[in-house]
Symmetry: D2
Subunit: 135 residues, 4 copies
């Protein structure tokens, strides 16, 4: 799976000194963005070409809280890549191997006015190596 | 279901002029907090008594984007209230009735060091009327 | 001064159980937005007419931390309202009267492409009663 | 000055496709944190030793909006380092050299219960090379 590394910031935390449950979604978005950049074109280039990838479902299981200054690895891969659909499996892991969160975010490829459209073939081809075995 | 009303703020939005997908979780937390306040004791009072409610699962389906200044109704009810578990069904609806998001957030009742514990009986009793029929 | 009331949310806090220093700016923006709504037209209506109010300076003095679930009053008034400039004095106060923060946010009235323009006369007139004595 | 590089994320932006004015403070905090890490001990280590650095003033001048996916350099240096006071000058610059923001954040060195205390001598010594000429 594609790995994106980051560190927990003050702005990510809430009382109890752990990452606020919503902020993990920020991290997942960052990781998806870096996956796209790594295969050629960042989200911004696709958007300039009239293609966006709005989320339609999120499923997350929170395992262990991440804390301020923790180094995190965010793993992202694809579990579906077909027609207009891109489903991403994700996992956030601490430096010591503890799993913080795992789950899936499901997206649809659309035009800027949010009409579903097929994933552009060159994007589909570049994403193909990130589709996980068994899918 | 319990209804909490709010309005979309600049800080909730991202490019494309819609609410950023993670920010809906902020709104859901606000609504759960106001539900607790409405039945007697806000989260803070429970925390001062050593009881917290960390999330362990989130399942969300995004239907239609909410935009800046939209008035939203956030509906929250319980689908499970048993032993240490509190599962909340949630729905965010615009003033015109359009459904923005629906789903579930699942929580466990724990001590401050995150050891599961039974939901305090008086809290359980106060939450009982918010358990949705069929559950 | 115009008063906007709100309550500190989990999403506003960081470790140490106080509001994160950047989040007070979210609250100030909410208060300015409600001031505009109270005098007739919310920000969104002005934006639809091609008028926005980007910030160009922020000066804040942090007095005492606000904490989760604190009730806050956010006071906003104008210290300058002339040509293209709108300067807002602001103060955040707890229910017990303790001052959390005070300062100023300075804005310029512009077209959507961020060219300065005179404040529309009807807006200027409606804001005039909020200009603080001595200014 | 110390330079920290980052990229604008979806979560940083708001409608109008620019960084929300409060989010720059998140970036400034990240940069100060990386400055501390670079000279030896991250904030977290100081906090574990009972020393924190709450903000007491923020002064910012916004020059040009940063946009999604922009690469930013955040420059941080000290303008004061004396007794309990640490004042940081800061500047955010785009890859093309355009200045996004400049200003100052002022902090006080305190114990965990927010009583001012002298900056620990080893920290003061390590920060000394980051004090800007003329200060």
């Amino acid at each position: 799976m594609f790995c994106y590394r980051t560190r927990v910031k003050y702005a990510d935390c809430t009382l109890g000194n752990h990452v606020y449950y919503a902020r993990y979604l920020d991290l997942l978005e960052e990781a998806r963005g870096e996956l796209f950049r790594s295969i050629g074109e960042p989200f911004l280039k696709w958007q300039e070409q009239g293609v966006i990838f709005p989320v339609y479902e999120v499923h997350l299981r929170y395992r262990e809280a991440a804390r301020y200054d923790d180094e995190l690895v965010i793993e992202v891969g694809l579990t579906r890549l077909r027609k207009a659909f891109l489903d991403f499996a994700c996992r956030i892991v601490k430096a010591d191997g503890a799993v913080v969160l795992e789950g899936e975010t499901r997206h649809v490829c659309t035009s800027l006015d949010e009409k579903p459209m097929s994933i552009p073939p060159d994007l589909g081809g570049a994403l193909q190596p990130h589709v996980r075995a068994g899918h």
